[in-house]
Amino acid sequence: MFPEDLRYSETHEWVRLEGGLGVIGITYYAQEQLGDVVHVELPPLDTSLKKGDIFGTIESVKASSDLYAPVSGTVVEVNGDLSEEPERVNQDPYGKGWMIVVEMEYPEELDHLLTASAYEKLVSG
């Protein structure tokens, strides 16, 4: 449910370090709370984000939620498949449901995010 190699924000986003870039999405817990995702709005390429900035919106049948950047950086890739298949976020939140890739401005920000076990404690508490 909460892969060990990821880092997590308190607002339920995750980051995976891949060749110096940060892949970002929302956690299993977040998609479970939202229910069926029907729309994901993501930023344009080259958007400059600071940690904590809203980078998009996610809508389910029942709710809408903002997406918060867990790390600072520039958006270098956006998952275009989500516009046709937003349900990927529910089906595979850490894989095919990835949302954006950023070139991180401060890689040390990763150390300030939660580990898998700390995040698990947060959501089961």
Binding site: G35, V38, S60, K62
Partner: protein
């Protein structure tokens, strides 16, 4: 000392919901919002059949020599000629013609009626009706005695037959019958809130879980469905929901339900006010819209027609059948027409929508329609 918080209520099926679904609080009840997911449950109902636990809804029995006359006075519809075995959708009105609640009345006998009301209004309705009771018109609470299951979808009839071993083919829409099952007689009505064919089953509380599980076991294509799908289904069918399209300040005329009102009835609460509304013109009328962009409008979001503020959304969701967001709203009369482009302020961004004719969805074969 603060008033103690009462514990949330649970239906007789709570253990099943807790094991298989996601629980939310609705009108002081712990209810399943979904099991597998709203979209799949919604499509199950549209394509085959789904099973809902609606035991949170208030159930009352009103009986006695004055019961029929009392209901006829409390509602704008014709209850006086409602025959035993028939059911009727109607509303309790206040003196201004506004809606206290919408409900279904089931006529059990000449002087015996069952009422099913919205969970959120159960206490209010009880107090309201109690004002007219007496030794010749007795109100009894049945909410905790009976569970209420709603089996909805085009395959409902065959699903019911697999469990109850009786054909309900001959039961017309909005009529009910008694079905023998395991030593008891269950009241089964051909009523529902999804826009599909379906049945509502009144089950003694202690038999509820057994019958729920049996229905699911006897037909593996029958899926449990939660309140989330119940809302998307009713919204596609443009059925009003109390607290959204209906409230004490809104009359049946404004939501397009003037067919509920029998003006030739001599006396009922709200008659004078409704006649006045009819002659003066209605202050608002209920409209439907689809979004042209993929953003979901929610209750309270503001709508504009070329910068002119029209009002707010009363209900909005994503329609699994239409694959686009849909919504209902009240507009000043004559201000909008099907085809008009509108903008909706969705969380700070102006999004495009289009007015359409109601309903968003109509079932293909109108089987058993009265």
């Amino acid at each position: 000392m603060e008033a103690p918080e009462l514990p949330l209520k649970q239906t007789p099926l709570f253990s099943y919901h807790q094991a298989h679904g996601r629980i939310i609080t609705f009108a002081d009840w712990q209810m399943p919002v979904w099991y597998g997911g709203i979209v799949q449950e919604h499509l199950s109902v549209r394509n085959y059949a789904g099973l809902f636990d609606v035991s949170h809804m208030g159930r009352f029995r009103l009986h006695g020599p004055r019961a029929r006359k009392t209901l006829d006075y409390l509602t704008p519809s014709d209850v006086s000629s409602l025959p035993p075995g028939h059911a009727q959708y109607t509303m309790l009105l206040n003196p201004s013609g506004g809606v206290v609640d919408d409900l279904i009345i089931y006529c059990l006998a000449e002087d015996d009626f069952f009422l099913v009301v919205n969970a959120a209004n159960a206490e209010k309705d009880w107090n309201w009706i109690s004002g007219w009771t007496g030794t010749d018109c007795i109100l009894e609470l049945y909410t905790d005695r009976l569970a209420l299951l709603a089996l909805q979808g085009p395959a409902s009839e065959q699903v019911m037959e697999k469990t109850f071993l009786t054909s309900l083919q001959g039961l017309p829409s909005f009529q009910h019958t008694g079905v023998h099952y395991g030593g008891e007689t269950l009241l089964i009505a051909r009523t529902g809130y999804t826009g599909e064919d379906g049945f509502e089953i009144f089950v003694p509380a202690h038999r509820a879980l057994e019958i729920w599980e049996r229905l699911l076991e006897k037909d593996k294509n029958l899926k449990p469905a939660g309140l989330g799908a119940r809302d998307t289904l009713r919204l596609e069918a443009c059925f009003p929901l109390y607290g959204h399209e209906l409230d004490e300040e809104t009359s049946p005329l404004e939501v397009g339900y003037s067919w509920v009102v029998k003006f030739q009835k001599q006396d009922f609460i709200g008659r004078t006010a409704l006649l006045k509304k009819k002659s003066n013109g209605l202050p608002k009328s209920l409209q439907a819209m689809v979004m042209l962009e993929n953003a979901v409008p929610r209750q309270g979001f503001r709508i504009y027609k070329e910068n002119f503020p029209l009002g707010v959304i009363t209900s909005g969701t994503f329609s699994p059948t239409l694959h686009q967001p849909i919504a209902l709203f009240f507009s000043p009369p004559e201000k909008v027409h099907p085809g008009d482009t509108l903008t909706v302020d969705i969380r700070g961004k102006m999004r495009q929508g289009q007015v359409v004719k109601k309903p968003f969805y109509r079932r293909r074969s109108e089987k058993g329609v009265s």
